[in-house]
Amino acid sequence: MTDEGRPVRPFRKPAAAAGVRNDAPALDALLARVARGDEAAFEQTYDQVADAVFGLVRRVVRDPAQSEEVTQEVLVEVWRTASRYEPARGSAMAWIMTMAHRRAVDRVRSEQAASDRQARAANREQVVLYDEVAEDVEARLDRERVRRCLDTLTDLQRQSVALAYYEGYTYREVAELLTVPLGTVKTRMRDGMIRMRDCLGVEA
C-alpha cells in the first residue's frame, strides 16, 4: 500500500480544518487516544471537527433537526470506529468528513424523492459558501482558498462537483439536471476534483 508508494500527504497546513488552532493537538494523535477509550480526547476531537461536520451535513440535508441528528450520528461513529482509522490512508479530517458526507447523502437519498430535490435545486446551481458565520482567521483563509480553487474550474466542472457534493446528487441525477451525457459528467467530476486537489495542494 502506501508504504511502498508515495505517501498520502494530508492538508498542506496542519491546521487546515475550520476552527483548528495551531497549538491544538493533531487530530490523528487525538484519534489514537479516542480509540483507547479516552473521553477527554474525544471532547477535544469534538471541538476541532463539530463545526465542519455540522456545516457540511446542514448544507446537504438542510432540515435543521435532521442535520443535528446526522451530525450526532457521525460524531458517535467517530468514537465507535476510531480504532479503524489508519493515518497511512489519509488525514483524520478527510476520514471524518468522508463519514459525514456519506451519512448526509444516505439520509437525503433515503428520505426524499429525487423529483423533490430536482425541483428544489432548479435554481441553485451556483456554489454558495456560507458567509454568515463569525469565524476565526484560519477558517476564513481555508474558505477563501477553496473558493479560489473552485473559481479555477470550468463551469461544467464546478456545477458537477457542487451538485454532487453539496446537494448529494448521484452523477446520473447531475447529468439529468445539467442535460449532459453521463460520460461527460463522470469525466468532469474526475478532472474537476483532480484540479481541486492540485490547487489545494493535497496529494496522494
Partner: protein, 246 residues
C-alpha cells in the same frame, strides 16, 4: 486499468455513485493501487469542500453527543487478516505452510460461523446444525484449498474441496445495503453463472458462511449487488471474482 471504471474515481470521491456502481468500483479499488492513491487524494480535496462550509454546531449537540458516547461500545482494532497471517507464516521456514494457511482460514470461518450461530441459535437450530456439518465436511476434506482476497473494507475467503465438489464462502467488511438490495454469490463456469446464495452482512460487515455442494465445472465465484430476493442471473459485473483452485 479499466478506463471506464477508473473514470468513476471523481464521482466516488464525491459519493455520487449509485449503490451498484459503488460496489463495482470498490471491487475494482481492491485490485488497483493507482486508483486507490487517486481516490485518497480526491478525498482530501472533497474533505476541504466540506470544511469550507463549516457552521457553528448548536451547543446542545455537544452535551448530547458527549453523553451519548458514554453508552456506546467502541469497535476493537482490526486484527491482521487471514492473508497477512499466512504471509507472516510463509516468511518463516515452515514445513507445511499450506496447512497453516488453511487452518487460519478455517479458524476464521469457524469463528464467523460460531458468532452467527450464537445470534441465530433460536431460529431453526436443526438447519444451522446441518449447515455447520456441511461446513465442517468441506474444511476437513483432505484436498481443501483456500483462496482469500480483499473486498471493500475486509476480506473474502473461499475454501474448496474438489473431491467433495463443495465450497464454503465467508467474508468480512462488506458495506451494509439498503433493504431493497442484497449481495448475491455466483458460481461461474464457461457455461455461465449459477446463483450460490444471498449474503446479508451483520452490523460489523461479516456474512454467515455459505456452503455449496454442487461445484460442478465452476471455476470462479463472484459477488454482485442484486435487488432484494436475488436474481436468477447477475444484473451487473461482479465486483469480486475469486478463482477456485483446481
Amino acid at each position: 486499468m479499466n478506463d471506464d471504471l477508473h473514470t468513476l474515481a471523481g464521482a466516488y470521491a464525491l459519493d455520487a455513485l449509485p449503490e451498484d456502481d459503488r460496489a463495482r468500483f470498490e471491487g475494482h479499488l481492491a485490485r488497483c493501487e493507482a486508483c486507490l492513491q487517486e481516490v485518497r487524494g480526491l478525498r482530501e480535496a472533497s474533505g476541504q469542500l466540506g470544511v469550507a462550509v463549516a457552521a457553528p454546531a448548536p451547543a446542545r449537540l455537544r452535551t448530547q453527543t458527549l453523553a451519548r458516547i458514554a453508552e456506546v461500545r467502541q469497535l476493537p482494532p482490526a486484527v491482521p487478516e487471514v492473508a497477512d497471517l499466512a504471509a507472516e507464516r510463509a516468511r518463516r521456514p515452515r514445513r507445511r505452510p499450506l496447512l497453516a494457511y488453511g487452518l487460519a482460514a478455517a479458524c476464521l470461518i469457524v469463528a464467523l460461523f460460531s458468532s452467527f450461530l450464537a445470534v441465530r441459535w433460536q431460529q431453526d437450530l436443526s438447519h444451522e446444525r446441518a449447515t455447520a456439518q456441511a461446513v465442517a465436511a468441506v474444511l476437513s476434506a483432505p484436498d481443501a484449498r483456500t483462496v482469500t482476497a480483499p473486498v471493500q473494507g475486509g476480506s473474502a475467503t473461499v475454501v474448496v474441496s474438489q473431491s467433495r465438489s463443495s465450497m464454503v464462502f465467508a467474508s468480512s467488511g462488506l458495506r451494509q445495503l439498503p433493504e431493497s438490495r442484497t449481495y448475491e454469490l455466483w458460481l461461474m463456469s464457461p457455461a455461465g453463472a449459477r446463483p450460490a446464495g444471498l449474503l446479508r452482512p451483520d452490523a460489523d460487515g461479516r456474512t454467515n458462511p455459505v456452503v455449496n455442494g454442487t461445484l460442478g465445472d465452476a471455476r470462479q465465484v463472484g459477488l454482485t449487488v442484486e435487488p432484494a430476493g436475488g436474481s436468477p442471473q447477475p444484473t451487473s459485473t461482479p465486483f469480486l471474482v475469486l478463482d477456485l483452485p483446481a
